[in-house]
Subunit: 698 residues, 2 copies
Amino acid sequence: MEPARADKLGRMLKPSSIGVVGATDKNPLSLGARVYGNLKRDFKGQLYPINPRSAVVMGDEAYPSVRELPTAVDLIVVLAPATEVVEVIKDSIAAGIGGACIISAGFAETGEDGRQIQDQITALSMEHDFPVIGPNCVGIMDLHEGLMANFAMKPEEDRPQAGAIAIVSQSGGFGSFMLNRAAIRDVPVGIFASTGNQSDVTVEQLLEYYVEQSDVKVIALFLENISDEGPFLRAAKRAIELDKVIVALSPGSSEAVARAALSHTGSIVGSGEIFDSVCAQYGILRADSIDELLDYALILQDGRRMVGKGVGIVTPSGGAGVLAAGCAIENGLEVPRLPHAVEDRIAANIASFGSALNPIDTTPMVGPPGIEAFRVVLKELADEETIDAIVAVSWYGDDEKAELMAESHARQAKPVVPVIPVQPELLLRRGIATYSDPARAVRAIAAVARASGRQLPEDEARVDAERRATAHRLLASEAGQPFVLEHTAKEVLALYDFPVSAEQSCQTADQAVEALRRIGPPVVLKALSHDLPHKSDSGGVILNLRDESEVREAFASLTRRFEDERMAVHLDSILVQEMVPAQLEMALGLERDPLYGPIVAIGLGGSLIEIVGGLRLLRAPFGIREADEAIGCIADGRIGHATRGLSVGARQQLALAAVGLGQLGIECPEIMSVDVNPLLASKDGIRAVDALIVLDGA
Amino acid sequence: MEPARADKLGRMLKPSSIGVVGATDKNPLSLGARVYGNLKRDFKGQLYPINPRSAVVMGDEAYPSVRELPTAVDLIVVLAPATEVVEVIKDSIAAGIGGACIISAGFAETGEDGRQIQDQITALSMEHDFPVIGPNCVGIMDLHEGLMANFAMKPEEDRPQAGAIAIVSQSGGFGSFMLNRAAIRDVPVGIFASTGNQSDVTVEQLLEYYVEQSDVKVIALFLENISDEGPFLRAAKRAIELDKVIVALSPGSSEAVARAALSHTGSIVGSGEIFDSVCAQYGILRADSIDELLDYALILQDGRRMVGKGVGIVTPSGGAGVLAAGCAIENGLEVPRLPHAVEDRIAANIASFGSALNPIDTTPMVGPPGIEAFRVVLKELADEETIDAIVAVSWYGDDEKAELMAESHARQAKPVVPVIPVQPELLLRRGIATYSDPARAVRAIAAVARASGRQLPEDEARVDAERRATAHRLLASEAGQPFVLEHTAKEVLALYDFPVSAEQSCQTADQAVEALRRIGPPVVLKALSHDLPHKSDSGGVILNLRDESEVREAFASLTRRFEDERMAVHLDSILVQEMVPAQLEMALGLERDPLYGPIVAIGLGGSLIEIVGGLRLLRAPFGIREADEAIGCIADGRIGHATRGLSVGARQQLALAAVGLGQLGIECPEIMSVDVNPLLASKDGIRAVDALIVLDGA
């Protein structure tokens, strides 16, 4: 975001003076009364109600219009009817006002007439570089500034604790829902903003703005669609650099979701799988419900991180400990055994029928020995270097154990996470992330582990002009064809770090025999033709040819088969290819997403690719590290460990080829898709033995 | 459960009179005061405090011992020191008391001395058929009877609403945690019981008892281990018959879980995967956190079920609708489009910028038109037959929309599920399952869908004596060997509905040539030997032999290879086998679980079985329906749909073979494991081309 734009947003989002067009105290249920009432209660700066039909609103002198305001306010909040808003914006621009938040509805969401009004606002906003949030939004909140310019809450309702969480949502209704839940759950939210119809400011821009603000550590984001991936990805990277966390809640992809989203906003978050992958690649955490979003935001907002994945668990009930341990393992955390000396010291302080083995079971010891045991365990876990976070279960938020947890949390830097069924809010209000369900506490810790040690993705495109020129030339030779012939496709791939099978494209049987000699037996013969996208299925592949006579026979057989006029196949050539020994069939593919551009898919290949599923996706460009991480996740991580899995060498080559495929997608925008399946992996490395490239316009 | 035992449990669990050994009012923090205070507050029957050191406890005349009680009470609650408990039990038996709930600790959990006391109690209990719950438990609760014989709550604390949910937990601490959360969340729990050390009554027996009780519709179960699968499985089946639901929360399986569980209780729930599978097979729902357990129990307790999987969603915010729809699809529900006429009637009542397409977006319409629109939508969804449950989002529990939801819920039989961020408890207290998170509401509805239309598993073993005799004889011929030879294994499998490859075991090359003639080319030759468990890896398999000379050459080659003394292989015979054409490689296996007995595994096979993973497990015996359902879940359901997936015929044969493998496990307990991989599937059916059986004692 350009500094000038950020400054402009900063002025309107941290205003010292606010005008409210449509402020009223006539009908307490009206939005004008609710928004002004909210502002009136909390705002410490100067407030100006603007209402031609009132001289005074809630005790403040009212002004008939924006033009009459005595000063150029930083923010104008607009609740006027849609038909009057263009005038308000013009006046605001003329008056040197900082920016507008238009809460009024009746714009693009209502049809063509509303769309035209909104377009005028967009035009004014662009022409005068005047920031506008909304229209048709719920408004904005910044509790650090006492700014409640919204109708998400009622004036008389309890506010959330002001904390380092920002809720950013395009949907105002859903954003309000989240804000209200945060308030009820004592989750400390400082900032809330909804962008509604986004005539100017988008949710992605607010993300980019808020990630830079020092009073924001976590952004809880609700997204139905991404219209602008630039600020979204920039914000994600800045969050990694600044060690802040974006947690996104978004619907999956399905026909019903698409139907809902289309009718509601006109677009969806591309494919849900692609969005998932982009989030993983750019360090954005995902949540699958409002509660999970708030669970994660709660623990992430104090900025504590974990060095490793070790969780120490202490409970008064073995059952809770076992459940928490199971949940930790399922969520990628570790529950390490403690050193014997530590176990011994713990054992000396707990009942003999408890357990000093992590998860530690103190048993429900009562009175001073119980408190002392709990104190010892917390201290041992805090001091132990294999433990990176502590889950501590107690019964009541007001007991001495709760006090010990708060002390342990304050005294050192590891997350200490109390789990308390009764009155968890007592510790929550002291700024300690507290949960009432052990599983949810553990999943929140897993979110901290994921947020810890994130690295910036390598997404700078490094174009190799010479290589690109060669690729363009090779591809151009097949422009207009339904796909690029295998042999040409492999020549292109070889430019981009793909090991490909040794092969030769032949016109005559003599050439084929010559190729056999050069490559060495056994070989495969394949009929190459733009009319044969699926060679094997059409009988265009003959395997395992060992000598000259077999090659000649196969050559003749393929030629005969496809020269038959009834086949309607124009044969380009016959490919003679080495038989590649394989331990494992992998696949690499590339598709072009309308929003994110080239997406590379990596997974198990072969004819079962459809059934096996589980492809991993990466937005290009990306680096070796991201590729290797994606490979490590194939088949739930079994790909690297299994006896018949990928060798270290093959895995390195596969990662390199994936990076190359991403570069190919960047350098050759004429490519619509690439499908390399199978990509045969052996102990020594990988080799592409088939490849299909489809060009734009095919 | 035998009726006499159920009657005995019934007497103590619904008592009209209770004695409390150790009741006191001297120290309000003591368990004796807490338990007696709880009983005193709620119990309507006769209470007898027993305490030799007090004449009166909380205003009631106290008795010095059980012997002095004026009547044979139905239940004796024991809080006396462990050393005195045997005497109390003897006195109780002598006095004709109904049963005991021993809350005191200091028994088997503390070591050998405690174990001996506990063993005496077990012996007394068995000898006199005297039911004992505990020791070392938190006690029992039945709010329908005003029975609070426990210390899970304090006397002054709010009780849960009395409802049709029973919480049953071996772990008292964890059970209390759940009970307290239920009370705080307004989840209607009527019954709570913890079994602690289980000297007599087990958690499985309580499950079996409560599933029969008319005031119980849902049992929320926390399990660390199953010691007794008989009552557990019987209870599960009775729940299906009575259309009640068991929801189980249990830790997964992992080394840390095992460590925790071992130190805590001495055993774990077998393998987590097997427990998952048994639950799926026996209609038990799983939850992964306390909140999810309570979410499910809440909606299941009114007994409403769904005919299909269609969910109608209505929200004032498109964002919430899109999220709920996405979550519904991900959880196996459907969000069907409504008939055009219905959409038209809805559209006529909502704002033009809303959406009448399911998920319906009414927009945040205020005032009477908003209420009327909401009324119309609820009515249309209730009347529409493709809709089986309704998710309705509103903002406040006390508004007119909430009232409409309550009416709609009362007027018809589909679940109407309000989602309300602010004051959801207002509807909850009126008995309507209400959630404050759309995703959690939808997942709860998915639980209703899973609970609806459950069928009894076919788990009656039908032994075929003749077949069994043949199998025993075949297997006996290889007793003492490390495994059963492939050819014998397939003869056994063929008895149990396995289509196997045509093959012949040969001693001479002439026999092999004869076999080639009979079977037809191409054939495979395999070296059979008890020294070669992995024939392929040892070069013991030669594929694709087309004529006599190739067969002779291969025969000679195998014989030469394995007659070499350095190989230390004693060759049994050479197997000549047809080459089976395959479209897909599947696998079937059998393992014997120490708790559940024979478990059949079905999944994708071939050499990648380790990497691909995702085997489905079934406890034997089971029927075709269960087998087919398991097959339908392989590879997330893609196995049946994919182009290269299973044909209808192959799927039927596979299900039949799976059932047969389960029967084999039942009929031949001498079998430790069976491994059939690959099991080749083509358009026509399946064929086992390899098989490994390992016998007990191998």
